[in-house]
Amino acid sequence: MKKKARGIPTWVLGVIGIIVFLGLWELTPVVGLVKAQYLPPASEVLLTLANDLGLTAFWVAVGQTMLAWFLGLAIAAVSGLVLGLVIGMSPFLRRFTNSTIEFLRPIPSVALIPIAVLLFGMKLESSLLLIVFACFWQVLIQVLYGVADVDNVAMQTARSYGFSYLQRVRDVVFPTLLPYLMTGIRLGASVALILAITAELLIGTPGLGKEIVLAQSGGAIAGMYALILAAGFLGVAINGVTRLVQKRVLSWHASVRGEVIV
């Protein structure tokens, strides 16, 4: 059995795994393990999803979710980067803000849902408040790690050559920082999707999450599962793209560092 498995390429096994999963899902309601009205068979859900793909309303919802995701992530990334640089570059500020950051960071952003509702209601800003609060810390912490990782000798050399603050940031700090920043953005990207969907589910800001709630309360259970699958594929796509971007940035970085060390 084991010898045979070695011969089969990994991706074939992966496809077999997916087929087995779908088969089990298909069988569960048929056998009667779970009522079909609660868990429709996989074929029905996939057909509904395929049908959804042709609807404008579906793509509008996806667009709304992605808009909140993108804006929230962008605001968090830029503000996290700028504040992280300013705080990280100054040993005084780093120590001065440490306790406050460590206290604010673990606060779950879903705790802000009531505030978002009171302030903005069912608008995009509600989603943005949650997303920015959650992603900001991811980016800020990584940027702080990155700035702390800057080689002291390189920094002092730059200083003694009379580099200005901005030049030091651009030519010394930023190259070291970049992989850390990318990690922060990659972590933030998946957190941002979670909170975009959460805001839509709970607050009712427009997007995929709201459609899921509507489908559920309207009794369109297959439709609900189809939308959930769509949300999952969105997550897979976001993971894939951010991993690709990070790999590009990191490969450039690693190769440069490699040459310097050798």
Binding site: K2, A5, R6, T10, L13, G14, V15, I16, G17, I18, V20, F21, V34, Y38, L39, R95, F96, T97, N98, S99, T100, F103, R105, P106, I107, P108, S109, V110, A111, L112, I113, P114, I115, V117, L118, L119, S190, L193, I194, I197, T198, L201, L202, G209, I212, V213, Q216, I221, M224, Y225, I228, A231, G232, F233, G235, V236, I238, N239
Partner: protein, 257 residues
């Protein structure tokens, strides 16, 4: 002098922020933001009461049960899958999909499948938290240095002993990274599952306060959630330091060289 400096760094900014908040709200009353004194008073009145036992403790218990179950299941399944190359290849795409699936969408699904009860809330937490632990365990087991495995084999260490003394320790740094993610997802899911469908619990109370425009009570609930978050992060850091003491020591030695 040194401790004084330490305390100064620790407290100055929080004190400044508190003062700023106090000055900003003490003028004319703001509907959305209570004064610090009012918030502290509401906090004590609202939460240091029977609510502690009817809302906070059940929520925290569900969170603890869900997270612990997710960690145990995740590590056990992860070991089983990670040690078997065929199984790993078979399950990888499906697991990757579930990791990428935003966990809050599981709430409506489990409401249907399990019904609205405590079991559903724990199931939501487990089904959302298990993926980072599971996938990190698989990854941790997979990336073990082959020399270690071969050394184990040539010393005749196998089965339970090999898992207990070689594989688990080698995978722990990666597993702990997964556990950290699992904790923050668990907290989110605890709140969401209660906001969605519940008649008790922290999430429910906070939404209830917001719907009845009891703004200071709502803020005090947010403070409770924040405190739980901070407490969780401290507990995690303490555990990590204990579990990974050897690892951090090793890193220090490597960096020193």
């Amino acid at each position: 002098m040194k401790t004084l400096k330490f305390i100064g760094y620790l407290l100055t900014l929080p004190v400044i922020l508190l003062l700023w908040w106090w000055v900003a709200t003490s003028g004319e009353p703001n509907f959305f933001v209570p004064t610090p004194a009012k918030l502290a008073e509401t906090f004590v009145n609202t939460w240091i009461s029977e609510r502690l036992f009817t809302d906070v403790l059940p929520s925290v218990t569900r969170l603890a049960l869900g997270v612990l179950a997710a960690i145990v299941l995740g590590i056990a399944l992860g070991l089983a899958v990670g040690l078997n190359r065929t199984l790993r290849a078979l399950t990888e795409p499906v697991f990757e999909f579930f990791r990428a699936l935003p966990p809050p969408v599981l709430v409506p699904v489990l409401m249907l499948l399990v019904g609205i009860n405590d079991g559903m809330k724990i199931a939501v937490i487990i089904s959302g938290c298990i993926w980072p632990v599971l996938l990190n365990t698989i990854e941790g087991v997979r990336s073990i240095d082959p020399v270690q495995n071969e050394t184990s084999r040539s010393y005749g260490i196998s089965g339970f002993n090999q898992i207990r003394y070689q594989i688990l320790p080698a995978a722990t740094p990666t597993i702990m990274a997964g556990v950290r993610q699992c904790l923050s997802i668990g907290l989110i899911l605890m709140v969401i599952s209660e906001m969605f469908a519940s008649s008790s619990g922290l999430g429910f109370s906070i939404v209830q306060f917001q719907r009845s425009f009891a703004v200071p009570e709502m803020w005090s609930g947010i403070v409770v959630l924040g405190l739980i978050g901070v407490a969780l992060s401290f507990i995690f850091q303490w555990c990590e330091r204990r579990v990974l003491r050897w690892y951090h020591g090793l890193k220090e030695v490597e960096h020193a060289v």
